[in-house]
């Protein structure tokens, strides 16, 4: 048991990669490749369930730690560990990947082998980002997510796919070199890449010149994360990438990749630079609010179903950033919960959009209307997910947004009030979209005969629907692990506040 305890993170991270390597040598029999990828991604999911099952909820700090020297000069360690926040993000990733495999079963017909190799490599990189405790390792996985994602968009997307892929790649690549520079600076002064070591060194004031450089370091990390989130006004790559990406790419992009940014803010901006986070919180929260409202308003006027969901992501991720920079227990709990909830429901929304695209090869809302008649099961699933996404109580969206808003109120009432309008907007654009697509008469004759969901699609949609319900009814199953981790993350900020008051 103890042996598994320290190797489980390595296993979960690298099982998909091992699967990808095996696929490399597999013959090109598409059906077998699909089944094999499904088995591998399910295996990773089952392994990842070990994390929440054996998680010591009372214990603070990182668990399942493994720390081995990897490269002697510079001192790079293979240091992995999970706390209540990252653990759930790992499970989210492994939960969504098998669904991605299922949803791509028929829509990917060409270069099938390469597609699933890229998908599995992407899964490894994503998990690696969440469990790395060595800044170098973190950067390594962070950059490693770029290539498979860009290739998935560029090779399997549609429309202006190349433009979208290159834009995505360059945007995130350019932003992350600033983070690299900041990481290198920290290493040059402290001589370690270890997150815990660096954190302790900064807290104890052992870093020379830190005060002069701290703001720049904070910004270096922040820019890299803000592009990923994406925070207004750095969001322009996201609609392009989403619209052109294949369904599985969109699911992972919205479901997990964006969370790399918010996770990074929570872990690194708050963890390493509490003082700078506090000083810069006002304008960051304003940007987050702009993102919430702007994203929702733009989503409302989108004629394209996928673009609408993409802009709704910008709006939802605004909530996460708002929650993180409210520096309240509720705000951070809520931010983490929104990350998970958004992953599940937006992932499912993209899957639903993809299913429609497979049948009609368009995302334009005007092409549809009255779909509830030919596709009743599909319409039911869609409604359920839409309700969970707009924050209906007892479904997953509500819990997180409620916590974030209560945190924002505590921080400053006006932030809470403005943020709360976001909930109204999201109800507007989602329900309006639902009405235009599903209600009324069937206008286009082609839509009369659209087949309803088949078994495979239903299998892919049940898990997110069930998860949305369980997360809404029993959020404590998640929050009781998130809460202690958030307390740890907030501790330095609380100290900071008491020091300011004491003075």
């Amino acid at each position: 048991m103890t042996a598994l305890h320290s190797t489980i993170l390595t296993l979960v991270t690298f099982v998909p990669l091992a699967g990808a390597l095996l696929l490399l040598f597999a013959p090109r029999r598409d059906r077998d490749i699909r089944i094999f990828s499904l088995v591998i991604s399910l295996l990773a999911f089952i392994l990842s369930l070990h994390l929440p099952v054996h998680f010591q909820r009372a214990q603070t700090g990182f668990q399942y730690e493994v720390d081995k020297a990897w490269i002697p000069t510079p001192h790079i360690h293979y240091h992995m560990g999970a706390d209540g926040i990252s653990m759930w993000l790992v499970v989210l990733t492994t939960f969504l990947t098998p669904l991605c495999v299922l949803i791509s079963w028929k829509s990917i017909n060409e270069r099938v082998k390469e597609f699933f190799i890229l998908l599995l490599v992407l899964e490894t990189a994503l998990i690696g980002v969440f469990v790395s405790l060595d800044l170098f390792l973190f950067y390594f996985f962070w950059e490693a997510t770029l290539i498979p994602m860009a290739l998935l968009i560029g090779m399997y997307g549609h429309g202006r796919k190349v433009y979208a892929a290159v834009k995505f790649f360059l945007y995130t690549m350019i932003a992350s070199v600033f983070m690299l520079a900041a990481i290198l600076w920290l290493y040059a002064k402290i001589g370690s890449f270890d997150f815990v070591v660096i954190q302790t060194a900064i807290r104890n004031g052992q870093v020379e010149n830190f005060h002069a450089a701290a703001l720049w370091l904070f910004l270096g990390f922040f820019v890299a994360f803000a592009v990923k989130v994406p925070l207004f006004p750095l969001h322009t790559w996201l609609p392009d990438a989403h619209v052109e990406a294949p369904t599985a790419g969109s699911v992972l992009l919205a479901g997990v990749l964006l969370k790399m940014g918010t996770y990074g803010m929570l872990r690194f901006n708050l963890g390493l630079f509490p003082e700078q986070s506090r000083n810069n919180a006002p304008w960051i929260m304003v940007l987050a609010l702009i993102g919430i409202i702007y994203g929702a308003l733009v989503a409302m006027v989108q004629p394209n179903l996928k673009k609408l969901i993409a802009y709704s992501s910008i709006s939802h991720l605004g909530f996460v950033v708002l929650g993180i920079f409210s520096f309240t227990q509720a705000g951070l709990d809520g931010a983490t919960f929104v990350m998970l909830a958004h992953g599940v429901s937006t992932g499912a929304l993209f899957m639903l959009a993809g299913i429609l695209y497979e049948r009609r090869h368009t995302y334009e809302i005007v092409e549809f209307g009255g779909l509830a008649t030919p596709m009743p099961v599909y319409a039911t699933f869609f409604l359920f997910i839409v309700l969970s996404s707009l924050g209906l109580p007892l479904l997953n969206g509500f819990v997180g947004e409620f916590l974030v808003l209560s945190g924002a109120f505590t921080s400053r009432a006006v932030y809470g009030i403005l943020g709360a309008t976001g909930v109204i907007w999201s109800a507007c654009y989602l329900l309006w979209m639902y009405q235009r697509v599903f209600f009324g008469k069937v206008r286009e004759p082609v839509n009369q005969s659209l087949p309803d969901l088949d078994i495979r699609e239903q299998i892919a949609l049940w898990p997110p629907a069930v998860a949305a319900l369980v997360m809404g009814v029993a959020p404590l199953l998640w929050l009781n692990a998130i809460d202690p981790a958030v307390q740890v993350a907030l501790a330095p900020l609380a100290q900071l506040a008491s020091r300011v008051v004491g003075r």
């Binding site: 490269i71 950067y139 390594f140 950059e143 490693a144 290159v166 350019i174 520079a181 290198l184």
Partner: protein, 488 residues
């Protein structure tokens, strides 16, 4: 000169010949090729001479490994075998072997008579090896000339193509000018210190007032070497010459002579304690990175694109020269090794794909390569990602070590220029990847199987690139020991 004063004995001892063994082996095999050339009829010459050359380079690698047991000085303190020289010997001889492997089929496809081609590659390697172990400025000059003259001729080897002859002539004229600068610098240093032996120069420069003449000498030598490594502002020749020269030769000349010139530069800047090097290097590094990357953005010819990329990489490498010796030297050495692995590999792909008469060399020609030849596209992708500096490739750690060395020396400005440049650079390498995977080919014919020579060269360079990207520790540790040897 101070040669005779230190060493009374006039005939070198046996062990001293071992200290130039790789050079001897390469020379012998080179002459063997020249002798065999007229004896073998044309149709078989390509295969046989290629095999002899490959054998020669492998023997040189073996000689380097054997030599490692006999470190020390030789030939009146003119050469020194230490971990530093061994590192570069191994690098240069390996590059030579890989280039010969990838030339094998290229020569047949281009219908160039092999003849002296392989001989010249080996002779060039002699000069480059000698540059890395020479302790004497005059010997360094001679070695530089040996390597340069071979490459001048190699550049013009596509005799039927006017562009190749133009490249050769241009390279020859500008190159001789640059070596003249180097020689002039040597003379100035001799005037300032009264010696051409690097340890003596180092002693004199460290002990007292540094004469102005020494500054001039260092600057002039830097001009000569800057030309060889294609650093801005001495880079103007690079794109034309790379475009005209046969692709495998470009793979050779963009790595091996560069490595040798960097070795010399390391000796001059760090071992000889050259004065005034810092700002020369700073300006050249910043210029090379910026000019190289910006010019590469608009290139349509892959060879020209890689030429500008090599200018940019010379810039990144020079950043390490501005850092402190004990991190800068290992970082620079690691960078040369990683750069050699990825660039030799990239040019192996380019030379195989170019086809007869080098017809397919524009970025557009690579469209759809991912479908036409998945293997070729995949390996080129590895090399390009490494050139961008994406993790799990050698290029990433190379950049990483260089920039962290720079930051440890508080060179924040230069690091920021470098980091921004590497972001700009991502774009043009990415264009090729995008072409290969995301655009449809104009000619949808699948390419034939990759011949053995090319696939061996590709496999070795791809493995080396990934090895350096996952387990860079051993190579870096060896480089650090070499740095200690150099600074002793």
């Amino acid at each position: 000169m101070t040669i005779a004063a230190d060493t009374p004995q006039l005939i070198p001892k046996g062990v001293e010949y071992i200290r130039i063994l790789p050079e001897l082996v390469l020379t012998i095999f080179g002459m063997l090729i020249m002798l065999l050339d007229p004896l073998i009829d044309d149709r078989r010459s390509q295969k046989t001479l290629g095999a002899v050359a490959l054998l020669g380079s492998l023997a040189a690698i073996a000689a380097t490994l054997y030599q490692s047991q006999f470190p020390g000085l030789g030939f009146w303190n003119m050469v020194r075998v230490d971990t530093f020289s061994l590192f570069f010997h191994f690098l240069i001889t390996t590059i030579t072997a890989l280039v010969i492997l990838s030339s094998y089929d290229y020569m047949a496809v281009q219908q160039i008579r092999a003849g002296e081609y392989y001989g010249l590659i080996l002779f060039g390697a002699v000069g480059m090896c000698l540059m890395s172990s020479a302790m004497e400025l005059v010997l360094i000059f001679i070695a530089l000339e040996i390597s340069s003259i071979s490459t001048y001729i190699l550049v013009g080897f596509r005799r039927r193509a006017a562009i190749s002859s133009e490249a050769s002539l241009k390279y020859f004229l500008l190159g001789s000018f640059a070596t003249a600068f180097f020689l002039y610098g040597v003379a100035m240093i001799f005037g300032a210190t009264g010696s051409t032996s690097i340890p003596t120069i180092s002693q004199i420069l460290r002990s007292g007032q540094v004469p102005v003449l020494a500054y001039v000498g260092v600057a002039l030598m830097f001009v000569g070497l800057g030309f060889k490594v294609a650093a801005a502002p001495f880079h103007v020749w690079t794109p034309d010459v790379y475009e005209g020269a046969p692709a495998p030769v470009v793979g050779f000349m963009s790595t091996a002579p560069k490595a040798a010139a960097f070795a010399v530069l390391l000796r001059i800047i760090f071992e000889a304690h050259a004065p005034g090097g810092f700002w020369l290097v700073w300006v050249a590094a910043a210029l090379s990175m910026t000019l190289g990357n910006i010019a590469a953005l608009v290139q349509d010819n892959v060879k020209r694109l890689l030429a500008y990329s090599s200018i940019a990489h010379a810039g990144y490498l020079l950043v390490a020269f501005a850092a402190l010796p004990n991190n800068g030297i290992p970082a620079a050495m690691f960078y040369t090794a990683a750069y050699a692995a990825m660039n030799v590999g990239a040019f192996a792909v380019v030379s195989h794909f170019a086809g007869a008469g080098e017809r397919y060399v524009t970025v557009e020609d690579y469209a759809g390569l991912g479908r036409r030849s998945p293997l070729l596209a995949a390996t080129l992708t590895i090399f390009l990602l490494s050139l961008i500096g994406i993790p799990i490739t050698g290029g990433f750690f190379a950049k990483f070590y260089v920039f962290s060395a720079a930051l440890q020396a508080n060179l924040v400005g230069l690091t920021i220029i470098g980091v921004l440049n590497s972001a700009v650079g991502a774009y043009y390498y990415l264009r090729i990847i995008v072409m290969m995977y995301m655009r449809e080919a104009r000619e949808s014919l699948p390419l034939g199987p990759i011949p053995f020579g090319v696939s061996a060269a590709l496999a070795i360079s791809a493995l080396a690139t990934i090895y350096l990207g996952i387990l860079p520790g051993r190579v870096l540790e060896y480089a650090s020991r070499s740095a200690a040897d150099l600074l002793r």
